[in-house]
């Protein structure tokens, strides 16, 4: 079982879908910490994103006040920011776009950093803007661990590069190493 982390939070934007699918497919079923995914998505169209991401694992779009459970994979719903409250329940927020995005990766990362602190693993994947970089810094400032997809392997390098520039100590990794890192923790 994973001893170092109580939550794994993954952010991605343009070019992150295939990478994310690969990571999700590699997750062992016995992985305990909840996995929270934030993707930049279109806002008012019907979407089957949960099913697209993994045929193997059930992916849940949490409802407001739902408890954050172990062994579950969550996806931030369209057109809401996703946050976690101190009592480890989800909270949805329909406020202004942050970094032109709702859901914003920064909002989720920063809220999870506050609640889970050092027991957070944050991972930022390919993307064309800098959403998530500041949130990843906050995870690391709270004592948590931050990984980014190696910009050289990312379809869009702006997002992981922003995190590298902004947060000292962040670990750039190829997709295989990200998978190994998570699996190595189990």
């Amino acid at each position: 079982m994973n001893n170092r982390f109580d939550v794994i939070v993954i952010g991605g934007s343009a070019g992150s879908l295939l990478v994310l699918t690969e990571i999700l497919d590699a997750l062992p079923h016995q992985l305990a910490p909840p996995v929270v995914i934030v993707l930049h998505r279109l806002r008012n169209v019907q979407s089957e994103m949960g099913r697209l991401l993994s045929s193997r694992r059930k992916i849940v779009e949490p409802e407001d006040k739902e408890p954050v459970r172990e062994h579950c994979i969550y996806l931030a719903p369209q057109n809401y920011h996703l946050m976690v409250e101190a009592e480890r329940t989800f909270m949805l927020d329909y406020s202004e776009l942050v970094n032109y995005s709702r859901p914003s990766i920064d909002v989720t990362f920063s809220s999870i950093a506050e609640v889970y602190g050092a027991r957070t693993l944050g991972i930022l994947l390919s993307g064309a803007n800098k959403d998530g970089a500041e949130g990843l810094c906050q995870i690391m400032a709270a004592g948590g661990t931050g990984l980014v997809q190696d910009p050289r392997t990312a379809s869009f390098d702006a997002m992981p590069q922003a995190a590298i520039d902004m947060c000292p100590g962040v670990l750039p990794m190829g997709v295989e190493d990200i998978k190994k890192f998570i699996i190595g923790e189990t």
Binding site: P62, E63, S95
Partner: protein
């Protein structure tokens, strides 16, 4: 990184606002309101929570700006178009049985969803015998809503939403565009009355066949959610409808037993007996 707000400071701020200005945010979900307080401090260039408290105690105008900033005023016309389609297909035909229809939009912000409702009613031939009571706690929102003026920029998205909601008309017939704004047609607006109502402190004021309260519950903690659900139960006529946001749920509240589910995914409920 921005300064954090400790729990003690947070409670202090909430208490000042409640005791001095009569707005009760005690039952609000903390994660969101703390984040907005921090943003407000950044926006006002306040360097410490102490400065925030100091200004709050001494400056009424500062308080008004704080309320405007920390309450969420984001809205769209036909947000979640599929929800509006369900309303159109499953709820409005039932409302048609009433000679006079009363609808309450609680937490209406600047009115976009209220105007959407008026359009649905118009297309269902029900608007002429409907009165919509649209309320919000924030007077600045209501002042905007009353004007019926919206920025033109958003109309492209709203038109898409309208079409997806099953709208069959020409959306541009519902407003007049001038320069950078549009004015929602008067014949839609004259069935709407906007006024201030605070779900935390104010009570039942009428009886409704439909209450729409979408994306307001998310800002409340569970206790406050329960209290507001009770207020809505008491404000609904028997068999009256309640519509919540599509990610909001009443399953954590005991009172859900007094409602039946009309549409689980779009969060439309109906008061039993």
């Amino acid at each position: 990184m921005k300064e954090d707000i400790s729990n003690a400071d947070f409670l202090d701020i909430i208490n000042i606002v409640r005791l001095q200005y009569g707005y009760d945010f005690t039952g609000y979900a903390q994660a969101s309101i703390k984040r907005r307080l921090l943003r407000f401090m950044g926006h006002m260039r306040l360097s410490s929570v102490f400065d925030l408290k100091h200004r709050l105690v001494n400056d009424q105008e500062f308080f008004s700006r704080l309320v405007q900033y920390i309450t969420v005023n984001v809205t769209e016309m036909f947000r979640d178009p599929q929800f509006y389609r369900t309303l159109r297909e499953q709820v409005l035909p039932k409302l048609a049985a009433y000679p006079n229809i009363k609808i309450w939009h609680a937490g209406c912000s600047t009115g976009e969803e209220v105007f959407s409702m008026a359009i649905l009613l118009q297309e269902a031939g029900l608007l002429s015998r409907t009165k919509i009571y649209a309320t919000d706690l924030n007077p600045v929102n209501l002042e905007k809503a009353v004007t019926g003026i919206l920025p033109l920029d958003n109309m492209k998205d709203f038109t898409q939403n309208y079409i997806q909601s099953g709208g069959l008309g020409d959306f541009s017939n519902y407003y007049t565009a001038r320069y950078d704004n549009v004015l929602i047609k008067k014949e839609l607006r004259e069935h709407i009355v906007f006024f201030q109502h605070n779900l935390v402190t104010d009570k039942v004021f009428n009886e409704f066949q439909l209450i729409c309260c979408r994306n307001v519950f998310i800002y409340f903690n569970r206790e406050l959610q329960n209290a507001v659900l009770q207020l809505f139960y008491d404000s609904l006529s028997p068999r009256g409808y309640l519509a919540m946001g599509i990610k909001e749920t009443m399953r954590f509240a005991d009172i859900h037993r007094k409602f039946e589910v009309v549409h689980a995914q779009h969060k439309i409920y109906r008061r039993k007996e």
